[in-house]
């Protein structure tokens, strides 16, 4: 079996996708924690057991994400290239993706693709966690709701407040003052989604919106955020079935292509 692995070591979660040829064998997600090497090992061994395969059956590994240089891999690529690869692979038969929005644990990326699906430009927020998964995590803690409840709760918003602080720390203070004013939690959540959408929207507009727009990363599970982004950008967002593992999938696709290329060249 010519099995390959794509490993995405993100700031919050680590994802592994195993592929055999053009077929996805499976994927697994775990919190990255402080020791990403150990996390990858546990995750990978779990997958080997689940699929009844041996470690030596994995012929090629591509690592991506912030911890990409921390583990052994045949190749190391950025999450931006991996994400672009996966979006093209997942959507090309249905919708031609031209823009990708990825919201991760500590950053946010917008990638532009040309008519052939090749990456031509990208932008990435840096230095702070504003408008990222971490922002949502902090806010859910203050509001005492589960992260995966945010989307459903925001459906019931009635009077959405403006949250102007993009900084996670200042945003936290703003949310606390809204709570002390007696504002409804559902309304505040919708306000948070709107503020993230504004920030991400500004990044998207910087490199230009071209449809179809693909939205992935953990926060893509949040339907309230999706709705806020669609309103901000005035476009429909396409979300893959498992938006959290797209980048790992992209790494696995690259691993598969490289493995085939090398097998063909006899290297």
């Amino acid at each position: 079996m010519s099995i390959v692995a794509g490993i995405d070591i993100g700031s919050t979660t680590t994802k592994i996708v195993l592929m055999c040829g053009n077929k996805i064998l499976g994927s697994k997600i775990s919190s990255t924690g402080v020791n990403c090497k150990k996390t990858v090992k546990v995750l990978l061994y779990g997958m080997l057991e689940d699929h009844d395969i041996r470690e030596e059956d994995i012929h090629y590994t591509v690592a991506t994400g912030y911890g990409r240089r921390m583990i052994f891999a045949n190749e190391v690529i950025t999450e931006i290239t991996a994400n672009a690869k996966a979006a093209r692979w997942l959507m090309h038969e249905n919708v031609p993706v031209r823009t990708i929005i990825n919201i991760g644990g500590q950053d946010c990326k917008v990638i532009s693709l040309d008519n052939n699906g090749i990456m031509t430009n990208f932008t990435m927020n840096d230095k702070c966690a504003a408008g990222t998964g971490r922002f949502l995590e902090v806010m859910s803690r203050i509001l005492e709701v589960e992260l995966d409840e945010l989307g459903t709760l925001s459906d019931n918003a009635e009077d959405i407040p403006h949250i102007n602080s993009l900084c996670t720390v200042f945003g936290e203070s703003e949310v606390i003052s809204l709570l002390s004013q007696g504002r409804r939690v559902e309304d505040i959540i919708a306000g948070i989604h709107k503020s993230i959408a504004k920030r991400v929207g500004a990044m998207v507009k910087k490199i230009g919106v071209r449809e179809a727009v693909f939205f992935d990363g953990g926060p893509a599970f949040n339907k309230g955020l999706k709705r806020a982004l669609e309103q901000e950008l005035d476009v429909e967002l396409h979300i893959p079935p498992d938006p959290q593992v797209t980048t790992a999938l992209g790494a696995a696709i690259i691993a598969s292509e490289q493995f085939l290329r090398r097998a063909k060249n006899g290297t």
């Binding site: 950025t78 290239t81 990456m119 031509t120 430009n121 990208f122 990435m124």
Partner: protein
């Protein structure tokens, strides 16, 4: 040891020479010729490349980090060896720095040089006048007379440095550049902080040997530093350390041209030696440097376009220091121009030293992956 390695070792060794009789300067609009004609060695202040502590007591944190870093050096005694410092009015931050430097530098003399933003007739006239004030100021401080002949000798000396550095740089136009961008940056930094006579002797010796071997000596060292990856033109703010260049090259690209004041702008043009009046020639040369602060943005764009063509550039990295308003304002204009001309552009905003390098690394690596 190859001639190339021998040269780089010599440069490294020469950097360790004691700097005596130096006058510091912060902007490349300060004519080094005047300092040399006054019997001093021009020493470019590069900052220390570390976070500042003392400078925050004088200037706000929202200031050009190069200015803060240089001031820190004046406050902590790093530049105590200088006999004086010239601060040119090239931005509001430099102007404020002049006020504080006078307080911070103790007995060290601080000179001020006004630099117009336009190279038109009026700008040239104003700059010529500012240069004559600067000459008088330096003469009075040092108790000497700068002669026309002394200025002309200094012009010839500096032109020779420029000519030699240009020769080295042009060797990078080939498919496999002889120097990595990091090595070239170190050479330019050395040339801006050392005795020009020594610089010229060492570079000339290297160039002579290189010419004699029919340029064979400058073979690619791709196994060593991957100099055959995508070719990058680096432009933007002042850059005091080669850390970003080293990062770009570690990730597989090669910086073939640095349109920086600590790079190719330094030797981009020569002073007309046969001009009737030395100060006129200096005013013309220094006011025509292709810098972002100048009003004539088309002249700068045409120069950049010429360089991306000449050096067969694949992509452009625009580096801006935080709070460096001149470059932060220039960036969108230059980006649009490059993108319309078909060159991908990556924007990096950072301090005078590399921080959050994980995120910067991801962006640079993704940019290189896009170019490959």
């Amino acid at each position: 040891m190859s001639i190339h390695t021998e040269f780089l070792t010599q440069v490294k060794k020469d950097c360790l020479q004691d700097n005596k009789g130096c006058i510091g300067y912060l902007s490349i609009q300060v004519p080094e010729e005047i300092i040399i004609a006054a019997g001093k060695i021009p020493f470019r202040v590069f900052g220390r490349g570390r976070p500042v502590k003392l400078a925050n007591a004088y200037l706000p944190k929202t200031f050009d980090p190069y200015i803060l870093d240089s001031l820190e050096g004046a406050l902590d005694g790093s530049y105590a060896f200088l006999d004086g410092t010239v601060i040119a009015n090239t931005s509001d931050a430099h102007r404020r720095l002049y006020d504080v430097w006078r307080l911070a530098a103790g007995p060290m003399r601080t000179f001020f040089l006004d630099v117009p933003k336009s190279a038109n007739a009026l700008g040239l006239k104003a700059f010529r006048l500012a240069l004559s004030f600067f000459v008088k100021d330096i003469e009075k401080t040092l108790g000497l007379k700068i002669s026309e002949e002394g200025l002309r000798d200094a012009m010839r000396l500096c032109n020779k440095t420029r000519f030699l550095l240009r020769e080295l740089s042009e060797a990078r136009k080939g498919l496999c550049p002889p120097f990595s961008g990091k090595e070239f940056f170190e050479i330019i930094r050395w040339s801006q902080t050392s005795d020009k006579q020594r610089v010229n002797e060492i570079v000339e010796e290297y160039c002579k040997k290189w010419r004699n071997t029919g340029n064979d000596i400058v073979q690619p060292k791709d196994a060593e530093c991957g100099v055959c990856g995508p070719r990058i033109l680096l432009t933007g703010s002042f850059m005091g350390s080669p850390d970003l260049i080293a990062l770009i090259e570690r990730l597989g690209a090669v910086v073939v041209y640095e349109d920086l004041c600590t790079g190719a702008q330094y030797f981009s043009s020569c002073v007309e030696e046969d001009s009737e009046e030395a100060l006129d020639a200096l005013a013309r040369r220094y006011l025509s440097l292709p810098q972002a602060r100048m009003v004539d943005t088309e002249a700068r764009w045409n120069y950049l376009l010429q360089m991306v063509n000449d050096y067969h550039v694949d992509g452009v990295i625009y580096f801006a220091l935080k709070f460096d308003d001149i470059h932060l304002f220039e960036y969108p204009h230059i980006r649009n121009k490059f993108q319309r001309a078909g060159y991908p552009v990556l924007y990096i905003e950072a301090e005078n030293f590399l921080t959050t390098s994980g995120q910067i690394e991801t962006r640079v690596q993704a940019f290189i992956e896009m170019l490959e």
